[in-house]
């Protein structure tokens, strides 16, 4: 029994044709509109490394690699996704009145195809059931307040699945309800045939007809709805995943690149024609804009964002919604080349722009490779360098960096004073340059860490030198807060100093120095091999150059964002420390930010919105005696946080813990 007959005197294929034209037309027009909006973005040449990209695409898009990091929701989604990939050909077949099936029969593939399609529908149906169960029964906290849209969509696609099975089953029945063409290659269809056997002819025909048109209605409706809602991700994820960022995570781009692949130097910048950061929609690159249509509204970025968790006005998911919504709301003006009154920064809100700590948890969590942070850092560049509108606290920080090359404004000539009495090589050739950083040079607590590390290295026989007074801030703080011009000035000066000193290998105790020197200085001609002190200490321990005994205390470890997540390295500190470590729930590459990154260390936080308190509480909850870390800012934030919580829990750097356990 099939639905392929005239209705009210009109052949079924005319009716379907009209509906298909409407649905496909509306879909194509909207997709085209979105593509035009995305193409307003600046160029970004990611049309390279095709073999790698195709591999990544298969692994991440087809293979749903990051999606399934959330076992339940991700698993359900994978089933639905793969299921629909398998069954999509069935739509064509149904639309063509069964002609596809006939064609496949001629080439002996029909049975296989039937089975594949059935499996597809079955997977999809299972996935949908799990998803509904999660939404309606489990009701996890993150879905609280979610609109009913989620359930409706799920029910709708379940409708597609069920109607398909009904049609399959009906095709196996004769007009009087007897099973005549049982097709074992469609097991579920057969099952449904069994349910429907014995129905009288008229009812059966009605059921078949209704199912068919419901099926087509839902599919057509879906086509119309896809580009408007979060389901744009069905198409949007394709360019997003295919053209994912190949630069190291967290690396920012210089203001202007020269043909030789290096940054244009400060003196030669074409300032007249330079767009400093982004305040208009069209200042973003096309790839930044395509993020808006790739977002699935899964809220994983929101869940891991420290700014959001501490109640600040930043929700990374909302930023991505803003890109898409702004584009569609102002589409007419944008496509006409006009600039809307509302800037994209107005839409984000300045509060959101400044709340970000650049911890990259959002980017890491996103299953479809959306790049949240660059949108905010680009906005910051505009706010600082063009609009001169930024938190007051940063004004003196910028001035201090300019005048004394450290954010606190201590005299530059006192930078090497922390090493007094240690008899270190200063400005002399050595295997390693120990790049101390501002905190390690000027902050009393972190000066202790610098001294401890220097002494450990001396004990282990490491040949190293420091720059002393000649060292300047690496500029990370200027870059993350949008003062790219200041960053570039500092970077160029530092590269000159380092090159003059013929530096090849750098060891540093600060993850921000590690990141900037190792991954970003290359643009300015500074190619150095940079290692973090925990990595060096792990090596020294393994080589037996440092004999480390057992700890008497229990400890937990806080991975700094710029090591654990952004560099993806979190084994070294544990190897260096040895012994047992009680891990926090969010550890290693899923570490939770201490709150100091993105220049937030220098910006006021309202008392009820402290990121470091959240993390300090997590450390406390492990019940350990102390918490170890490998970053001067984490050290400050955790110490502060624990004190605020009234705890006696000790915070120590990896080097200090090792020094405390040294044998001989």
């Amino acid at each position: 029994m099939d639905p392929f007959h005239p209705y009210f005197g009109i052949e079924w294929y005319w009716l379907l044709g009209v509906w298909a034209a409407i649905a496909i037309g509306a879909h194509a027009w909207q997709v085209g509109y979105a593509v035009r909006l995305i193409r307003l973005g600046k160029p970004d040449d990611r049309f390279n490394a095709w073999p790698v990209r195709l591999r990544e695409f298969l692994r991440d898009w087809l293979g749903q690699r990051k999606v399934v990091e959330d076992r339940l929701a991700g698993g359900a989604h994978a089933l639905i996704f793969w299921g629909f990939l398998l069954l999509v050909s069935d739509v064509l077949d149904l639309g063509a009145g069964g002609m596809l099936a006939e064609f496949l029969e001629d080439i002996y593939l029909k049975d296989f195809w039937n089975l594949v399609v059935d499996i597809g529908y079955l997977m999809a149906g299972t996935g949908i059931t799990i998803a509904l169960y999660r939404r309606v029964v489990l009701r996890p906290a993150k879905l609280r307040g979610a609109s009913i849209e989620g359930e409706i969509i799920l029910l709708a696609i379940m409708g597609i699945v069920l109607t398909a099975f009904i049609l399959e089953g009906a095709a196996m029945l004769s007009p009087d309800g007897a099973v005549v063409e049982r097709n074992d290659w469609e097991p579920v269809g057969t099952l449904f045939a069994g349910f429907m056997a014995g129905m009288d002819s008229a009812t059966l025909q009605t059921v078949v007809d209704v199912s068919y048109w419901l099926h087509m209605l839902l599919i057509g409706g879906f086509l119309i709805e896809i580009p408007r809602s979060k389901h744009s991700h069905l198409l949007g994820t394709i360019p997003n995943v295919l053209f994912q960022d190949h630069a190291p995570l967290g690396k920012q781009q210089p203001l202007q690149m020269a043909p030789d692949g290096r940054a244009v130097s400060t003196d030669e910048l074409d300032v007249e024609n330079l767009v400093l950061g982004a305040s208009n929609y069209t200042d973003f690159s096309w790839r930044q804009l395509s993020d808006g249509w790739a977002c699935t509204a899964c809220a994983r970025c929101q869940d891991v964002c420290p700014a959001f968790a501490s109640g600040k006005g930043l929700n990374p998911m909302q930023i991505i919604f803003d890109i898409k919504d702004y584009g569609r709301e102002h589409g007419r003006q944008l496509l006409a080349g006009e600039t809307p009154d509302e800037s994209i920064i107005d839409r984000f809100t300045e509060e959101a722009v400044w709340a970000c700590t650049t911890c990259f948890a959002c980017v890491d969590a996103c299953p479809v490779h959306i790049e949240h942070v660059p949108k905010l850092t680009e906005a910051r560049r505009h706010l600082v360098m063009e609009a001169a509108k930024f938190p007051e606290e940063l004004q003196s920080v910028f001035e201090n960096l300019e005048r004394n090359s450290n954010p606190w404004g201590f005299g530059a000539h006192t930078r090497g004073d922390w090493a007094e009495g240690l008899d270190l090589k200063v400005g002399e050739p050595a295997e390693y340059l120990f790049y101390v950083g501002c905190a390690g040079s000027f902050d009393n607590r972190n000066k202790q860490v610098s001294r401890t590390l220097a002494q450990l290295m001396q004990q282990a026989g490491v040949d190293f030198s420091i720059l002393g007074e000649a060292e300047m801030c690496n500029g990370d703080l200027a870059r993350r807060s949008g003062n790219e011009f200041l960053f570039q000035t500092l970077a160029e000066m530092n590269v000159a100093t380092l090159q003059e000193a013929d530096v090849k290998k750098i060891v540093t105790a600060c993850p921000h120095c590690f990141h900037t020197l190792g991954k970003e200085y290359g643009d300015y001609g500074g190619d150095f091999e940079v290692i973090h002190h925990t990595q060096l200490l792990a090596e020294l321990r393994e080589q037996g150059k440092l004999q480390v005994g057992d700890r008497g205390t229990t400890m937990t470890y806080h991975d700094p964002c710029y090591m654990g997540r952004i560099d993806g390295s979190h084994d070294a500190p544990r190897q260096a420390l040895g012994g047992e470590i009680v891990e926090m729930h969010r550890c290693r590459d899923k570490t939770f930010c201490c709150g100091a990154g993105g220049a937030r260390m220098w910006v006021e936080e309202r008392a009820d919105q402290r990121v470091n308190l959240i993390r300090a509480q997590e450390a406390l909850d492990t019940g350990a005696d102390e918490v170890g870390t490998g970053c001067p800012f984490c050290m400050t934030m955790l110490t502060d946080g624990l004190k605020s919580l009234g705890s006696e829990m000790v915070v120590r750097d990896v080097s200090e813990i090792m020094a405390g356990q040294l044998e001989a």
Binding site: V271, A387, A388, Q395, R403
Partner: protein, 253 residues
Amino acid sequence: MNIAVLVKMVPDTESRLEVRDGVLEESGFKYMINPYDEFAVEQAVQFREAGGGKVTLVALFSEATSIDTDLRKMLAIGCDEVLVLRQPGYRGDRPAANAAALAEALEALAPDIVLCGVQGIDYYQSATGPMVAHKLGMPHIASVTKLELVDGKLKAWRQVEGGLQVVETPLPALVTCQKDLTKVRFPALKDIMFSKRKPFENRPVPAAAGPDLPCTAASLPPARGGGEIIDGETPAAKVATLLGKLRTEAKVL
């Protein structure tokens, strides 16, 4: 409305201070704009934005050192032009001689209002402003924390012990600016770049002469002994020792 702002270049507050044979080592100093003068620049620009006119920045400095970058920032904040008087043998601790050189340049400009910082953070003499006013034959109001320009008259709130003296004066007049008179704006990078187009004149002036008293010997105050923890049997004893030291040793009470 013709507004002149006097700006002094002073050594960075964090500069290393070394005294050798009674002479302060000044060769290694990095110079910056006197912070009090920045308040004056901002105020001048605000006056111009409100009532039109021109803001001319006048600075007196030595011949050699380049101060373009710093002064360009002032142009970016909103000054219209810069005049730097280059003097051989310039010293910052000669207010009378410096005031004479500045006043001579200012006479040609015939300003309606002259603004400058109340003091320089190098010598803290608070002298140059009043001396310039005298040379120009204008009234001056010093250490002003609030300033209004209404109908061609200045109304100033001058800081005195325990409060503020409110003074009005017609123009022309000179005002020296106290901390927080204004909130100095941070110039946008674009404005700094475009400031290269504004007039910037370096003008040589003759060496200084005047009744200023030279420093015959410089010395460092007794070193901060790295801190002394005060002992005592009782709180009262510790307190007594502390107060004694604050009065006689540190001389801050």
